[in-house]
Point group: C2
Chain length 428, copies 2
């Protein structure tokens, strides 16, 4: 059978799919593919996560995930397992959603990727299609993945097995909705590889736009998308710092600059980071020997937590022993993910100064309750713009705390009668 | 009479207006104000420009300007003069549109501003409203203009005379259209000042959005708007350089990254500069002692012309004596303005290498004809994406030139059968 037979097998929904990694990318994808008619096996090393998933329970917050997961399980088309053997061996399409974390010294850690490739190889890759959803340093497919698979199997990419980079660009919290609606970038090693993955995603939504490019083009497209957003967040933060220097409020000025002006879409200042934006630029920049816009943006965003702590220290004096409540620990609003969270960094800095820090995040069960956080705090820092926090102005004002620091400008300064008010980007 | 009486005088259209500076900002503004019912005197030191304007001839290309100018002159409500005395003395509202060029060492040259303030003072400022349309370093109104006017006149800003920063944000080439449609940012020293200028702009279009802020807020809002665009152009250029490093084409990847993706609006790479974008960021950055995103973006954009010349030199060898035709000299497409034009810098670099450079720009009369530029060139560089250039692929291919360098990616590489093709951002 030639590899191109896989195209029809996928188009008809008869192809078996295996998703390696049931994290925030892999699990929603596996569930949506199962609900699109494929038989899907999801593999993860975390036993607790696997059994939770098989019980129909979402292991993290993601809108609509739990309902979709239950549908997938009750249809009999989806199961999770820690044992990769059968799933990988019987699959026609294997999707890798494993992480490529960046270690210190900007070293890309490929150990998870290599381990996943070993698992894939153990089930045989002849006449299979392998798709990578991970964010990869440009050239990873060509220079690392294909040589590894070809070298160990003796097979030829594009002929004996299909391979493509199909980067994930969903927003955490909107994963299910966006898996149906977003265009899909398919960077296959050849046209057969492209066609197989195009059919896979068209089964999710026949109207989905499919954009074809090379594997390296797909790797770069993903990075460009995230860097574009991250640099604009950093620029808003630079504007915030300049506004403070000039005694103005960046939030007000950015609103004035954007209003009705078609060429201005400056984001709001605030803490920017997280497992994608906080590292993707450096993945690319690590091959660049001079300062780039990306590295300058990264330095700026990473300095904001320390800048905020120092702003507070200059206002109130030493932080040692002070009871400081931090509201919000997730890396952005509305989710429960703390990986590379700038709020977690802020908390770490405060602890380093010897402050008594109480953290409350309504999305994270292992944090303190709101009541405890608002029991006699000396300082309250609202570090994440979770929608729940917008209504807390009066409670904070009446908590007896001396200072509230509003990172995202979610409060009206006039709401505070007793507590003094500071806002990131406001120099008055 | 209190200063607030001016509000009604402006609202009714009875106020006399004087516009200092009949450049690309001042002339369209003066003409539109005259056509909105005000009696307007326009002042400029350039005799030739003044007489041209009074004959109803636009001294530069600007869509719809000449027709609007003729209407304004024939209505009797507009005249231009080199003699500031009467215009300034009799005006109720004085608008300054003079330049604030940035000299070497990032020194802001206030000589034109000081000269304009002297002229304004010479006609008396009591019960007048003074509006600044120029791009200003934050704090210029508060720290330079108001102390100067108060110090020399003995009058009080906001009480004896009104003053506001009302930054211009029109696009060159679309000035007339945008003077009617864009929101107006009004940064007055007090509410009376705000109200006077709000009424002035509402007469142009009663539906115009008026956004109020402080003078410094208005100075910053203008800078933020331009910096936002400029940094995004620089980021696209950084993506172009990375794409070349990885043997890919940035134009293709950016299209893939943007298509149907709501969070990605990456601009196309190309030469970025001009009298606003090319300096506004540094105006702000000059008070910043560490590298900023803005200064990194400026360095990157300013390096692109040299980068292009070096790319060509590596391909073809020494440039000394080579006949090189550069198509486009304006700082952007569709206009005849060469101030701080990156194409002019590119031409300067080529001349420095000893190339025989022929420049053609259909918008600039003092450049060579297209026929001459395409007579036996060895290299053709299309440096501006003027719409006229899109059709030239075949003519360039048949000109016998060895290499075409397409800065903006306006041509399809397949259009060139004989001439070898290079594109900025394409590493193959």
């Amino acid at each position: 059978m030639p590899l191109s037979d896989l195209i029809e097998k996928v188009r008809s929904g008869r192809a078996a799919v295996c998703v390696l990694g049931l994290g925030r990318i892999g699990l929603p994808l596996a569930v949506v593919l199962a609900n699109s008619g494929f038989s899907v096996v999801g593999i993860d090393i975390d036993r607790e996560r696997v059994s939770k998933v098989n019980e129909g329970k979402a292991p993290f917050r993601e809108e609509g995930l739990e309902a979709a997961l239950r549908d997938a399980i009750s249809s009999g088309r989806f199961k999770a397992t820690t044992d990769s053997r059968d799933g990988v061996a019987l699959a026609d399409v294997i999707l890798l959603t494993i992480g490529t974390p960046l270690a210190f010294q900007l070293f890309t850690d490929y150990s998870q990727l290599h381990a996943a490739l070993e698992e894939v190889l153990s089930g045989g890759i002849y006449m299979k299609a392998i798709g990578l959803k991970s964010t990869l340093f440009p050239g990873t497919i060509e220079n690392i993945v294909i040589p590894y698979l070809e070298g160990k199997s003796g097979l030829r990419a594009g002929v004996d097995f299909a391979i493509a980079m199909i980067p994930e660009r969903i927003l955490e919290g909107k994963a299910i909705e966006e898996l149906y609606s977003l265009p899909e970038i398919v960077g296959g090693i050849n046209e057969t590889s492209n066609a197989i993955f195009a059919e896979l995603f068209k089964r999710i939504n026949p109207g989905k736009a499919i954009l074809y490019t090379s594997p390296k083009g797909a790797e770069l497209a993903k990075l460009f998308t995230n860097i574009y957003r991250y640099v604009n967040f950093a620029l808003a933060n630079e504007f915030a710092i300049w506004s403070e220097m000039y005694g103005e409020d960046a939030h007000e000025i950015i609103e004035v600059a954007n209003y009705g002006y078609p060429r201005s879409r400056i984001p709001r200042p605030g803490l920017a980071g997280g497992p994608c934006l906080g590292k993707d630029g450096l993945l690319l920049d690590n091959n660049t020997t001079f300062s780039s816009i990306v590295s300058t943006a990264w330095k700026l965003n990473e300095a904001v937590p320390q800048y905020i702590v120092e702003s507070i220290r200059r206002r109130v004096g030493r932080l040692y022993g002070k009871r400081i409540s931090v509201l919000g620990l997730a890396f952005k609003a509305g989710i429960d993910d703390t990986r590379l969270s700038p709020s977690a960094k802020l908390v770490g800095i405060l602890k380093g100064y010897g402050a008594r820090v109480i953290v409350h995040d309504p999305y994270l069960a292992n944090t303190s309750a709101l009541d405890e956080a608002l029991r006699d705090p000396e300082i309250v820092i609202v570090s994440v713009n979770h929608p729940e926090f917008g209504k807390l102005a009066r409670r904070i004002d009446e908590s007896g705390c001396g200072l509230v620091y509003d990172v995202w400008g979610i409060f009206d300064p006039a709401d505070f009668k007793r507590t003094s008010y500071m806002r990131f980007g406001r120099g008055r």
